[in-house]
């Protein structure tokens, strides 16, 4: 028995589902601020669920509202390289480079059914490249398909109601032997969560602190803060989902 099949046999966290039972007719996006207050640093929660029957996701473009940025904040004070992550996993990255945490579900085709493999996600700050801010996503699944998956996300400036676009190319995820590629079908992540701990040195002492999250502007746009997710699939099709974070009642 191959190690992959052995892993499959002992995958306690996985679930088996009919291929059509894992998602809805349309892809959806969700977003949140915590705390949900204007003019404060916040944890940005963002997630998606892809439509059922979609071919594997190859590109994800998440658009963030204008003014929701981490430019002046302490989130991501060090960097982590793609090569380091690929070679040594998340231990290659300093804790001060960790900017987000989350989880995802990967659908692994298995005959007429699919195996749903949960993976944990870590998001790191990477060195800027070509005058753009760069992040790295590290997916750790351990069994049966995803052991370690790293992908790069480039942050572009946008205009209009959106201030930034996080553009992520999703590499192919090999499925089980003789089966089609696996695919990320959902993800939920928090950027700048309160659980992060950074360390710095001041006057000979180590200081531990929680980094600031993303800034929320002092003014809320009419209708709330807009988010958008554009999903590109392996067959070339594309789908866009939108959502909004409602304006807080009080500043």
């Amino acid at each position: 028995m191959s190690s992959r099949w052995l892993s499959l046999a002992i995958c306690a966290a996985c679930a088996i589902a009919p291929a059509s039972a894992t998602a809805a007719e349309h892809s959806s996006l969700n977003a949140s601020f915590s705390p949900d207050k204007l003019a404060k640093a916040t944890t940005v929660g963002i997630g998606f669920q892809l439509k059922s029957g979609a071919t594997p996701l190859t590109r994800l473009q998440l658009r963030l509202p204008t003014g929701v940025t981490a430019g002046f904040n302490t989130l991501g004070l060090e960097t982590c390289t793609l090569a380091g992550l690929e070679a040594r996993g998340s231990s290659a990255c300093p804790s001060n480079a960790l900017v987000g945490l989350g989880h995802a579900v990967v659908a692994v085709p298995l005959g007429s059914q699919q195996l749903l493999e949960p993976v944990s996600i870590k998001m790191f700050m990477a060195p800027a490249a070509n005058e753009h801010t760069v992040f790295l996503f590290y997916a750790d699944g351990s069994a049966p398909v995803i052991d370690r998956l790293v992908f790069q996300s480039v942050l572009f400036g946008e205009s209009g109601i959106f201030g930034g676009r996080l553009d992520t190319a999703i590499p192919p995820v090999a499925g089980l032997p003789g089966s089609p590629d696996a695919s990320v079908i959902s993800m939920q992540a928090e950027i700048g969560p309160k659980s992060l701990r950074y360390h710095t040195h001041s006057h000979g002492r180590t200081v531990t602190f929680t980094p600031e999250g993303f800034d929320v502007p002092a003014r809320c746009p009419r209708g709330g803060f807009p988010f958008s997710g554009t999903f590109t699939f392996a067959d070339g099709s594309e789908e866009t989902a939108t959502t909004r974070v409602s304006c807080p009642r009080t500043p």
């Binding site: 940025t69 430019g71 002046f72 700050m125 060195p127 929320v216």
Partner: protein, 161 residues
Amino acid sequence: MNNKHKLPLLAGPAALALACAGLAGGSSYAAGTHVQGFEAKVVPVQGSATLRVTQETGSIHQAEGIAHGTLGGTLHLTVDIETASRMKASFTDRLHGGTLSGSGSAKYTISGTVLHFVGTTGVSGGTGAYAHASGSGIRIEGSLDRLKKTLTMTIHGSMKV
């Protein structure tokens, strides 16, 4: 003669001090200008500044510090981080003889502790000796230490006074 257009900085010890402090190493605000009444003069604007972030309200950040070079003075910046790659800023520089104000924008990237920015600013006027100052396309470049909340920048260009 309307003395508003004269620059008090250009005469006496203060002018000498500014000329010496200029980063240009050549033409300076004081040395390169002869004040003759109303005629607008183009003067170089070159120098550096070190500021500290003093207040943050959402995506708007206030910073204040000392500028050195052909202008000098106490510089106050209001920075609005608009998008994931661009920010805009307005400034007021309190100098001997008046204040100078303007606004500009810059492209930025984040790489760990450092936020690096490059852009341009304009001068839209001021008070006292700088009441009629104007200028555009003045290059700014600098970085923010995101942990220490200190901002350093250089400025290079010219303006009319």
